[in-house]
Symmetry: C2
Subunit: 212 residues, 2 copies
């Protein structure tokens, strides 16, 4: 990890993602370093794709429902990962159940170790190909980041944290979110890992134009 | 237009597009200059999105059928056009009927004036916001490119050209195409204007690694 620390005057960007999403994997691995280099503060915001897809009339990922597209996206995803120098393995199960690590991420979303935790979960899903909803693996992803991972796991599955994740998802839908990853700079929305650089540039440009 | 002319040893890339498609607009305007700079030959291949979408169970563009996504893509499209320095205006009708210019493009797909014709039609749809299926506008797009545009219009609407466009579309489906623009380098498929640079790089890399 680079050593730049966030400044109070850095412009902000929201980063909405889901551990089950293969393109979210790319952004989770890339966003921290890119944002620090651009001097942009990232607000990590987990959201559940399940309810979003259900409201669009889908009972599964479009990559599963649309056969042709499904075949293509795994090839594209692997090429993009190669381009960015990221390890990748197509998961034997897709999309994976992700509720437990998603809840932990919701509890941790403003913690300094959020990035490290999310990267560990994403590596489990898209490199190690293991069950990310297994408490054993969530504890492993938390190792070295918090003093008492087991307590955190219990709190993550309780109220008000459970509801918070559902509320964040509902709010995202109201703002027009239909997939992940999605980035917001104010209310300007960017969808897809391939818009990450554009979103960062937008945040930087906006902060320059409003500076007095 | 730049003055580089294609060499016989340039690697090839197929470019599948549809005049009704807003992201195809971006690629039609960009591909020629980028490919010449990369020393890649472009095979322009019109294809009809209508039958492709129907086979996926859709009776219209997904940008019309999916409300949230539809709202987003026009914003994204405008931002991408701005980024590439391209004029843009959201058409008052979308997707526009495009059969007549698509047939002309099929007849002309290997002509040296193909790029100029396609850019003219695309500007009509996405800058001037006029009916691209009106013979008057197709003739206007052909102006200065061929000696007898009216004869060409008649031939475009006859066999075997009519069937050729449908066959190209069916072949594209068999190769896994589900949208436009799509690029092929051999059988390696790339979908979306935001993969144009990747496809070109793939063509260049492939031609270098097979050179003896």
């Amino acid at each position: 990890m680079d050593s730049v620390s966030e400044g109070p005057d850095w412009p902000e960007m929201e980063f909405l993602f889901e551990f089950a999403s293969n393109y979210s994997y790319l952004s989770v691995m890339r966003i921290g370093a890119l944002a620090r280099a651009a001097r942009v503060r990232v607000r990590w915001r987990p959201l559940l794709l399940g309810p979003i897809f259900r409201d669009m009339g889908w009972n599964n990922s479009p990559f599963v429902l649309q056969e042709q597209k499904g075949r293509y996206v795994w090839k594209d995803w692997a090429r993009q990962a190669d381009k960015h120098g990221l390890a990748h393995q197509r998961p034997t199960q897709f999309p994976r159940a992700s509720m437990l690590p998603m809840r932990v991420a919701t509890l941790a979303q403003d913690q300094p170790w959020m990035e490290a935790f999310c990267q560990a979960v994403m590596r489990q899903n898209f490199v190690e190909d293991v069950d990310i909803n297994d408490p054993k693996n969530v504890l492993r992803a938390l190792r070295g980041l918090v003093d008492d991972p087991a307590v955190l796991l219990v709190r993550a599955a309780e109220e008000p944290n459970k509801s918070r994740l559902r509320e964040q998802t509902a709010q995202a839908q109201q703002r027009g979110v239909f997939g992940a990853p999605t980035f917001f700079v104010g209310e300007e929305m960017f969808w897809g890992d391939d818009r990450l650089e554009d979103a960062l540039a937008w945040a930087v440009k906006g902060s320059k134009s409003t500076r007095r």
